[in-house]
Amino acid sequence: MTTTENDLGWLDDITMSQLERNPYPVYERLRAEAPLAYVPVLGSYVASTAELCREIATSPDFEAVITPAGGRTFGHPAIIGVNGDVHADLRGMVEPQLQPVEVDRWVDDLVRPIARRYVEAFENDGRAELVAQYAEPVSVRSLGDLLGLTDVSSDTLRDWFARLNRSFTNAAMTADGEFANPEGFLDADRAKEEIKAAVDPLIDRWITEPADTAISHWLHDGMPPGKTRDREYIYPTIYVYLLGAMQEPGHGIASTLVGLFGEPEQFEQVVDDPALIPRAIAEGMRWTSPIWSATARITTTDVHLAGVDLPKGTPVIQSYGSANHDTGLYEAPTRFDLHRPPLPHLAFGAGRHACAGIYYANHVMRIALEELFEAIPNMERDTSAEVEFWGWGFRGPTALPVTWEV
């Protein structure tokens, strides 16, 4: 008699550093052998196929939960890990600025000058490292200005998301259900102290003098006259922004570029015809999904799914980066192909907790690539080194050196 436990013994050997270096082989095997499986090092069930991820994201038998390391990093109530009235209030707080008609009103004026400024800084150098000099700065500066953090430098914002990231994805658990590396959270604790030291005075000011910044709107919108939301109530969601929303458009820009560099003909097509940029970004987000495995759901009742019994209260980590490589949906998914049939992907999640910033993020990435190709249409990847990707929770290239004739 075979048992699932015996067949899946290899799951015990998975390590965090293996997943962070390259999660694809493990998840390819999971999709084939156990699309819904308990992965010991994560201390959690994991959903790895497109069908399961979509079903779980939209099922009434699941609701959101933050991963343990995520909860330890952000605290409560973070928008990605709450449900019911609190979730409705937080979505109602962040969504007005992110509606397409609203984003259309300001996104070009916000992002294009920032993108131009960063590209002008290196366009005559003949070489650049696009992750640190372009993708990340354009991403953090745009959102930083939108939030009202105009006086916080782009390098500080990049430093904050990197430290929050390492804490959020410090996911390894012991067999006893304890954090395997509790000291891995301490640096983000210090980062949060820095964040509060910078943001508290702004909040103090916006409480008495509302401004047209996102955080000021979060304090005031929908509140009775003279009342504001408590800052401790919105800080976890500020951290959500300072990590994911700051970091991921940068990851998306860089991953799309790496994908295009790997397909020189497609690179030429996109440079020659900027109208193809949105399609290239959609494929880049599928090919290397920035939020690879950072969100989770929990059962609200006993559930039988994919041959597995999940008692009420069982968390499942959603592996969208894996779902977007599901061979049931995508032919040769490891290949970046701008021209593949434009099927929907799960890079922005699905259901009630689908990313609130989809429209904004897509435009940030589009404008960044438009300005880059406009200024430097002759760039080439510096092929003296391979591009390295890193990350299991969040994933993207660690560096992208390019050269061009000035």
Binding site: D272, P274, H339, P342, E374, P377
Partner: protein
């Protein structure tokens, strides 16, 4: 083109135009004065791709690599190839949505040959007087119908838009070509009637104001002459570099006219370049290489390319190498006629 009874209505934006069952959608819209992006008019460039929101089309000769099976399944069609099978509602995606603006209507006219002159090796200038003016923009092209065969060939206009009653075309002999060896270089003579359909194409001036570089291969010079004269009329101080690439000095023409232009406009520069038969009086090599040698940076410039596909491809690469913004690179996409 032979007229067919308009039997279907094709709607784009707030305009609905009649379209015959054997009439390409593009032809129907342009004929009614409704602009939509179009370029090669032979199904190979994909510029006129649109979405069939409602109704059914026959894709006819749409090539599989311009319009993939997946695109067909997703409801896309090439306007220059597709014929209606029912009333249609159409939409343009993306930045092409500027379409629907009024353009010069597509016309069928019968003109008269008033000049047919040998101007260079295997090259003729053909002037056609029209019975009435044809509205067009400099850089566009027309189609001529070879008598008796129904074969249609595309030739760029060398005219500026104010010279609208006598069209000027530059024609290169193609050995065995139905329109050239079989007609324009054979039986055609002055005073002959000639069927002209036009204007077509998107190879026209834009709003950019910086310096311009134009590279024409052989008779690809024709539309560039019209574009350069038009740009100089708008802004006499405009910096324009016009490269004419040919095999040998015997292929050069209009040198005097270009010299006159250069004498009149200090920003205009004409550079003939010989690829195969060098002589001491001219630059040698490829015109695209000459540009790269001459211009250290084309940031902020616009570029114009008309000639054989290999030259156009090399031109795009050369322009980008000198960092011209790709959106400012313009190409005539139709393959030179034979």
């Amino acid at each position: 083109m032979t007229s067919t009874a308009p039997t279907f209505g094709a709607a784009l934006g707030d305009r609905t135009v009649p379209c015959g069952p054997d009439q390409p959608l593009l032809d129907a819209f342009l004929r009614a004065g409704v602009w939509m992006p179009n370029s090669c008019n032979q199904g190979t460039c994909g510029t006129c791709k649109l979405r069939v929101v409602r109704g059914d089309v026959d894709h006819r000769d749409s090539p599989a690599d311009t319009l993939t099976a997946a695109e067909r399944a997703a409801g896309l069609a090439l306007a220059c190839q597709a014929r209606p099978r029912s009333d249609l509602t159409l939409a343009l995606d993306g930045p092409a949505a500027a379409a629907g603006r009024t353009a010069h209507p597509l016309r069928d006219l019968v003109g008269t040959v008033v000049e047919l002159a040998d101007i260079a090796r295997d090259t003729r200038r053909l002037r056609i007087a029209l019975p009435e003016p044809l509205a067009f923009d400099a850089g566009q092209y027309v189609e001529l119908t070879v008598p008796g065969s129904g074969v249609r060939r595309q030739y760029s206009l060398a005219n500026t838009a104010d010279v609208d009653k006598v069209l000027e075309l530059h024609v290169r002999l193609v050995p065995g070509g139905a329109a050239t060896a079989g007609w324009i270089f054979d039986s055609l003579g002055v005073d002959d009637e000639i069927e002209v359909t036009g204007p077509f194409g998107d190879f026209v001036l834009d709003d950019a104001e910086g310096p311009m570089v134009m590279i024409g291969g052989g008779t690809g010079l024709a539309p560039l002459v019209g574009l350069a004269r038009t740009a100089l009329a708008r802004d006499p101080g405009r910096e324009i570099h016009l490269y004419h690439g040919v095999r040998g000095a015997a292929d050069l023409y209009d040198g005097d006219a270009m010299a006159e232009l250069a004498a009149r406009y200090s920003g205009f520069r004409f550079v003939p370049v010989l690829s195969h038969e060098p002589d001491p009086d001219h630059r040698s090599g490829l015109p695209t290489d000459a540009f790269v040698e001459d211009v250290p940076s084309a940031r902020g410039w616009s570029g114009w390319l008309c000639g054989p596909p290999a030259m156009v491809d090399a031109g795009v690469k050369a322009f980008k190498r000198r960092r011209m913004a790709p959106r400012l690179i313009h190409r005539e996409n139709f393959t030179p006629a034979c």
